[in-house]
Amino acid sequence: MIPISYYLWVSALLFVTGAIGVLLRRNALVILMSLELMLNAVNLSFVAYARMFNDMGGHVFVFLNITVAAAEAAVGLAIILAIYRTKETVDVDHLSLMQH
């Protein structure tokens, strides 16, 4: 059997990958995907810990998180779409109206 810690390391790796994506990528859609990656990385940890403790709670939280992630993605996409309609680009470098 694969030890629990392997799952936790993979989860941490995915989380950091997502965080780096949010900070470095300039395309709004890729940023959104990176955010989803971060949330799903956390889900992996939740499941791994739940398995370790033999506790159903952790599994249930994952379902709640998936729901939240879906709602967040919907709102995020709507905002990106609204921006695309007025600017015809989703490059975040062009979002700089308020740099004083």
């Binding site: 965080a19 949010v22 955010l35 403790f53 939240v68 709602a71 967040e72 905002i79 004083h100």
Partner: protein, 484 residues
């Protein structure tokens, strides 16, 4: 266990549900309204919130656990519920003429304000970290949309986007913190955290989880160095939404901090780890918030930095970890809600259609064209600067005396010095209004009845809390007694 067990005690959630249902009613009602009957949205919203306020205050009493220990209704949550509902009522009053002026879909707008308020209320009653996360998401998602509701304005969309990215980013970090705490302790119940933490050793995993929770909530409260989204988001969002964001989510985030760090991680061995971190954050926030506010040319942006600075003052009280500190945070949140919503209401009126008038120069000579508006603005500037006899003075006094009592002299000194700095930029507004000649277009502005009511309430609140601070502080002390 039968299927209805989780519904036991749901009666205590009547205030939350009232706010939620009012939002849903508005959303449905809006479909059947014509341009002329659109005012019914506001009426329904205000009636629902007033009802919720009464119901919330009636919940006062012994703590009751709801949803199988996921949520709790106690005096602490009741105090915050009343504060949140008050903020929502004031926001509705402020927005009535604004949504008409700017052609914002009022049904969605009010419904989202109420949904966000439901989120605030669940934050204050969360008894489990997962419940807390869900509540924070409810309020965050509603405010992301609110910030971008001005769809024709590119600035509004840009604000919504920045808020969304950083909000979702911080939520993910917060969630990772919850997962790590879960891994370290085996459960996520805030009420049981204290017991589990006190008997066990502080493991590195728990420390990591706690650090992630601090970063996640730090973004929500907007303490330096997690504040960089605030100026742009507050600047770009529709101004009534900015006002709502400066009062509501901030108070909710402080409710979450008090719950998690006072009730959950309040044990001696844990507090020794997080208190120094909070002290550094508070110091940095007060210094940077106030210094950046000095350099602004837009009053809206200046108030954004001022809001960061005020979060810093309230943060000082978190370090103390005693009842006076916690009570002073509750007091500060109510006081700040009055001052901030009042000041933003004046900005809303002066900005005119399209929100083009936020520069200091737009306020020149306001005292001669709109003497009452200028006098009201002067009061709020004095209050935000922390001059007596206003709520701002009493709030800072309690926070800093709590810090001194617990031996954090350096923080108190930084707080007082940065308050002195802040007087410069607040007085600048007053100087422009009273000392300069009105520019072109400086004509008397008509103020709607709802805005007048809002200004009346906020002025009275600011003065009452400044002149008779004792009554609210006693209420706050009574409310926090269960956290320890």
């Amino acid at each position: 266990m039968d299927g209805t067990a989780f519904l036991q005690g749901t009666g205590a959630l009547v205030p939350h549900l009232t706010v939620l249902i009012t939002g849903l009613v508005i959303l449905t009602l809006d479909l059947f309204l014509t341009e002329r009957s659109r005012f019914l949205n506001e009426v329904v919203g205000l009636v629902g919130l007033a009802l919720a306020f009464v119901l919330a205050v009636l919940q006062h009493g012994d703590p009751r656990m709801v949803f199988m220990d996921m949520a709790v209704v106690d005096n602490f949550s009741v105090f915050f519920h009343a504060t949140f509902i008050l903020i929502a009522i004031l926001t509705l009053l402020m927005s009535a003429s604004f949504v008409r002026r700017e052609d914002i879909a009022s049904g969605e707008y009010y419904a989202l304000v109420l949904f966000a308020t439901t989120g605030f209320m669940f934050v204050a009653s969360a008894a489990n970290l997962v419940m807390l996360f869900l509540a924070i998401e409810i309020l965050s998602i509603a405010t992301y949309i609110l910030a971008g509701l001005h769809r024709q304005e590119q600035r509004s969309l840009e604000a919504a986007f920045k808020y969304f990215i950083l909000g979702a980013f911080s939520s993910a970090i917060f969630l990772y913190g919850i997962a790590t705490v879960y891994g370290a302790l085996g459960h996520t119940s805030i009420t049981q955290l204290a017991a589990t933490v006190a008997q066990g050793e502080v493991s590195p995993l728990l420390m990591l989880g706690m650090a992630l929770l601090i970063v996640g909530l730090g973004f929500k409260v907007a303490v330096v160095p997690f504040h960089m989204w605030v100026p742009d988001v507050y600047d770009g969002a529709p101004i009534t939404v900015t006002a709502f964001m400066s009062a509501g989510p901030k108070a909710a985030a402080f409710a979450a901090l008090l719950r998690v760090f006072f009730q959950g991680f309040g044990a001696e061995n844990m507090a020794a780890q997080w208190a120094p971190v909070f002290a550094v954050l508070a110091g940095l926030t007060m210094i940077l918030g106030n210094l950046s506010a000095l350099a602004q040319v837009s009053i809206k942006r200046m108030l954004a930095y001022s809001s960061i600075a005020h979060a810093g003052y309230a943060f000082v009280a978190l370090v103390t970890l005693d009842a006076l500190g916690a009570a002073s945070i509750l007091y500060y949140m109510v006081a700040y809600a009055f001052m901030s919503l009042g000041a933003f209401a004046v900005l809303t009126v002066v900005a005119k259609r399209g929100e083009r008038h936020h520069a200091f120069s737009d306020y020149s000579g306001l005292a001669s064209t709109n003497p009452i508006l200028a006098a009201v603005m002067t009061l709020f500037m004095f209050a935000l600067a922390g001059l007596p006899p206003t709520a701002g003075f009493a709030g800072k006094f309690y926070v800093f005396s709590a810090a001194v009592k617990s031996g954090y002299y350096v923080l108190a000194i930084i707080g007082v010095l940065t308050s002195v700095v802040s007087v410069f930029y607040y007085i600048h507004v007053i100087r422009v209004m009273y000392m300069q000649e009105p520019g072109e277009g400086g004509s008397p502005i008509r103020v709607s009845a709802a805005t007048c009511a809002l200004l009346g309430v906020t002025v009275l609140g600011t003065l009452y809390m400044g002149v008779f601070p004792g009554s609210i502080l006693r209420l706050a002390e009574h409310s926090v007694s269960l956290l320890f």
